[in-house]
């Protein structure tokens, strides 16, 4: 048999095997196995994510690097040990700072109960905008729980395994959030664009929307609690011949720099798909 034929047979066999796995996964039979494999994955991911966060912190603050370098020169004999210690302490301080801010936020919203967790990775597909968080069904997380930071809304949990969960960001074009504009007291629909921009659509034409106006969750639809900040109006697109006006918003959360998030654990989204028409 020619070599290319045998390679084609191997490729077809492997594809058939994967198709079988795909069917099992779609029917939900693979979930326990996926959870089992993801258990060590989440441990390694969080270990690497912590070090990556520490390194990014170090690289993004050149002033601190300079002082670190000075210190390293002075203490040549302890250079490696000290360097590691500083990185670790700085990461702890940054984490404590974030946690303090999150705690302030949680105290200001006593009706919700929160659980803080680390972001340990992002979706490996560049076509999807979601993040992986440390903790899953073992920690009490479930599908639909909203995810926030002290700055505002991040997204909601869409997939849960025992030790890890996937959060769909509000930047994902599949995510739709009912919002309200704080000053003009009107509703709209957050519609993320494929180029990464966040738009608020379906704003009544008669309403005057001002730049800098705060956009909050409206709670309509039951997917998110009310009054979580999402961003500020950057500019408005209004055409007389259209039914609605749109606004581009600047998200309040810096999605490139999320290390710790809060999960609102006592919020149960309304199962709208079960409501009969």
């Amino acid at each position: 048999m020619r070599r290319s034929t045998s390679q084609a047979i191997i490729a077809i066999t492997l594809i058939l095997m994967v198709t079988g796995l795909m069917v099992l996964s779609l029917s939900g039979h693979l979930a326990p196995l996926q959870g089992l494999i993801l258990r060590p994955f989440s441990g390694i991911q969080s270990w690497i994510a912590l070090r990556v966060a520490a390194t990014r912190e170090l690289l993004s603050s050149p002033r601190d690097v300079a002082s670190l370098r000075e210190e390293i020169t002075q203490l040549e004999s302890e250079v490696t040990l000290l360097h590691q210690e500083i990185i670790s302490l700085r990461e702890q301080a940054a984490e404590a700072e974030i946690l303090a801010a999150l705690l302030d936020y949680a105290r200001a919203q006593p009706e919700s109960s929160y659980r803080a967790t680390n972001v340990i990775g992002r979706d490996v597909s560049p076509f999807l905008r979601s993040i992986w968080i440390n903790g899953g069904s073992d920690t009490g997380f479930s599908r639909g729980m909203p995810v926030v930071t002290q700055q505002g809304l991040v997204g909601r949990i869409v997939e849960v395994f025992p030790t890890i969960a996937r959060v769909q960001l509000i930047l994902d074009p599949e995510a739709s959030v009912n919002v309200k504009l704080q000053q003009s007291r009107t509703d709209g629909l957050l519609s993320p664009q494929l180029n990464g921009e966040l738009w608020v659509d379906l704003i009544d034409q008669t309403v005057t929307v001002t730049q800098g106006e705060l956009v909050l969750t409206s709670g309509l639809g039951g997917k998110y609690p009310t009054d979580i900040p999402i961003g500020q109006i950057q500019n408005v697109r209004r055409r007389d011949y259209e039914l609605f006006q749109q606004a581009v918003i600047q998200p309040s959360v810096d999605f490139d720099d999320i290390d710790i998030v809060l999960i609102i654990t006592n919020f149960r989204p309304l199962p709208l798909e079960h409501i009969a028409p």
Binding site: R3, T19, W132
Partner: protein
Amino acid sequence: MAYLIGVPLLALLSIIQSTVLSHLQLFEGRPDLVLLAVVGWSLAGRTEEAMVWGMIGGLFLDLLSGLPFGSSAIALILVAFLVSLSEGRFWEAHLLMPLSATLVASLTFHILGMGAVLLTGRALDPSLALTRVILPSTFLNLVLALPTAQLAGGLRDRLFPPEVEI
């Protein structure tokens, strides 16, 4: 032996892809480490193993992705198969072979990934995907193609030293 090293290596590469490379973006494109490993191993002459690596690495990627489970695995098996077609041809040893194989592999992998996204009914603008994801990712993969091919060749020589007749 190739699987003993390949499975943990592919698991580690997919974790790095999720944790580290998500911060190293060109537009929204990132280098695809698992794809590079599969292409590199295939170019090193271990074509059948590379297809199995493609399946295993793809399944690891699918665990860490919201795409349907198995879609990356199928794409990587096809990529490994495409690269294996160059085996035995007169241009196989050409210096530009890793680059052209990586170019074809990256484009195939991302177009299949885009197809999986569209099949699940998600909104995706193909022209934006091309300019913001596919081309930047392909460029980053091309940058890493030659060192990966060197590393894969080195690993092959260590694991399977060429037999010498005395």
